[in-house]
């Protein structure tokens, strides 16, 4: 049916090698940068702390003045607002250590007697004093270009007085739903042989979740010229996802159109569902042709579009959220295919105690039955060379985002 069935991992590697991360940069206020990717190295412009600070509540002293003090032999110091021989200054955690002082005696090691304080512990120079630049030294590399910024990183930037930062632009991902059977959502009730367009909506939401900016086009009918025009219209984007028209029926023109405009790398992939997936590029832009059948389309998105968007966005691989569980019914794999079996977690609180967590497979028939995904908590991925997984075996469930 298809030119050939390319092994899933090979197809992915082959495809991802053609994807080049976007090089556009924008400057944003740090408060808008959660999840964004730093577009440059950031070095500290100041020392943190920028003054010598007390690490404890207590009294700043000259360490030499406390020599010889002990639990039975306190040294008596005068409480003052500057440091001289025999004086001390009250400090609390974080407050500046006054000039002349080189240590802080903890409050617990003192007893205040009017204007005087008894010090019951001898301190060494630098004790309980945070030196200038102790946390972050001026000039130190704080954020490396390519780092995905988290709230804690943004707080570090803020602590250095940095209010804006260069980040990579999010990749623009055009989504082209194709199919003469499709009715735009909210327009009219589908007649016989028609369905609402939903893959475009689903894909848009996944693109956004995975770090891209979706640009959803109107439905294109099954006409090679119209499909070609649509692809050319979005030549300014960083990636194109086309839904439908990838099979080998009379109305399946999409892979041929991609080939006519650029390069078709793969048509027919060893993923189940999702075999009709095609991958290629047009003008150096990666193109994912996802099957119109929603479940197959979704698997193609997860397996190919997600890593491509993340690579475009400079976001490194990240582990899926996985739950380890025991299978309560056998699942069959499809030999030669990486099988994405939809499963439901059936026991109470699955995440807190993975060993008590059981999953059962949902009907794997029907790549068109999106409700089987909606009912599923995750996928169990069965490798190509495995016939199936028996009841009672432990499996990793990749949670569906």
């Amino acid at each position: 049916m298809f030119r050939k069935r390319t092994n899933a991992d090979e197809a992915k590697d082959f495809f991802l090698r053609t994807v080049r991360p976007v090089d556009g940069i924008e400057v944003l206020p740090i408060g808008d940068c959660d999840g964004r990717v730093a577009g440059e190295d950031v070095n500290a412009g100041v020392d943190v702390p920028h003054y010598r600070r007390a690490a404890m509540d207590g009294f700043a002293v000259r360490a030499s003045d406390t020599m010889g003090s002990g639990s039975n032999s306190p040294v008596l110091l005068k409480i003052d607002n500057k440091i001289e021989k025999g004086t001390c200054v009250r400090v609390h955690t974080g407050s500046p250590v006054p000039d002349g002082a080189d240590a802080v005696v903890m409050l617990e090691d003192t007893v205040v007697r009017g204007e005087m304080v008894e010090v019951f512990s001898q301190v060494h120079p630098f004790k309980n004093v945070g030196e200038i630049g102790e946390d972050i030294r001026k000039g130190e590399l704080i954020i490396t270009g390519g780092h995905v910024l988290r709230p804690c990183d943004i707080a570090v930037l803020a602590s250095l007085g940095i209010e804006k930062i260069k980040v990579f632009k999010k990749p623009l991902v055009a989504i082209i739903p194709t199919g003469e059977e499709l009715v735009p959502r909210g327009s009219r009730t589908p007649g016989e042989g028609e369905v609402y367009e939903t893959n475009g909506l689903m894909t848009s939401l996944y693109v956004r979740k995975w770090g891209g900016v979706p640009i959803l086009l109107d439905i294109v009918t099954d006409d090679p010229e119209k499909i070609k025009e649509a692809i050319q219209r979005v030549s300014g984007t960083d990636m194109i996802i086309i839904s439908g028209g990838t099979s080998v029926g009379k109305r399946d023109y999409v892979p041929a159109v991609v080939e006519s405009l650029g390069t078709l790398l793969v048509h027919g992939v060893g993923i189940s569902p999702g075999k009709p997936t095609a991958l290629g590029f047009v003008n150096v832009k990666p193109v994912v042709c996802m099957p119109g059948y929603p479940v197959a389309g979704m698997v193609a998105l997860y397996y190919f579009a997600r890593p491509a968007i993340r690579k475009l966005a400079h976001i490194s691989d990240e582990p899926d959220r996985v739950v380890r569980a025991v299978l309560s019914e056998k699942i069959a794999g499809r030999t030669g295919y990486k099988t994405f079996a939809r499963v439901k977690i059936e026991t109470g609180t699955p995440y807190s105690n993975m060993w008590s967590c059981k999953v059962f497979p949902l009907s794997t028939s029907g790549a068109g039955i999106l409700s089987s995904v909606s009912k599923a908590d995750g996928f169990v991925i069965i490798p190509e060379n495995v016939e199936g997984i028996d009841k009672g075996e432990e499996v990793d469930v990749v949670l569906i985002e």
Copy 2:
């Protein structure tokens, strides 16, 4: 120092028991509902498919007309646009099966001869025909109230022609930064003894990430009356997070203020860093008092604020993103405390092959050193009764979001 040190898990359970999920509902377009929580059960208003549809490209037939056909004995049918005895209608996958037909013969089992088609395979009634409601039956429960909506769920809603859905309102979380040493970001350069306010910004971003709507108040100085006023000002929110003033120094008024306005459940928790954390509620609203020291504050957010926000938002527990790795240096735990050690993943591609993944601990000293978090990829959490983890042991690294 503190009233007592409550065990971390006990403190969390005790605190979370007081948290009641929000009951406000809003109606939103489905396209805006990724990650939102369904506020009601949704039942299908229509059958999917709403017509009998072909499951294959081929010819719709009366099954009885194909009786007796085989690879050497084709039955000849006339290609027509309606079904009668001896006629058939060309169909493709998804198109309506015309009245009178009860099966579809696959294209592969036919040969077209002008206006006639040779059928080489006998089909049973219902073969390759998707019945009305096969995927989703009208009235069937599609989305259960409390389900966190994913793009694939939203696509199912769209396929049913549903354009709006009731979702639970996001919880409003007020954030009150306190401390006379704090300088508002972007106002002026901090002098000696001063730092930029950053916990409020960090907390706002985490609140948003975890499903809440942050409301960040201006800095409140260390004055019990001012803190009280600030808490009363946000009485309309669903939760309050107060940063700073939770320790036992002269300027630490926050726990006492919470107690005066409501109930202080816990002050002093067995997490390290983060011991000065206090938990309570005011007017049935949960209150997390996080230490002002940023790392301690962040651990308190992760351990207490996150599950509370998620419970308020009706979002069930979800597993962290975890990487299993080998420790390349010993980490010490603090006896009696759940220790959150910051670690950095040091080898190349950690996620694709967990067994080759090595981590080393970052300096655990200094709860004030936020850069130790920014440099960290995740936490290794050392239980209360464990002295430390040796070099070479396998650990779970909880990635910092």
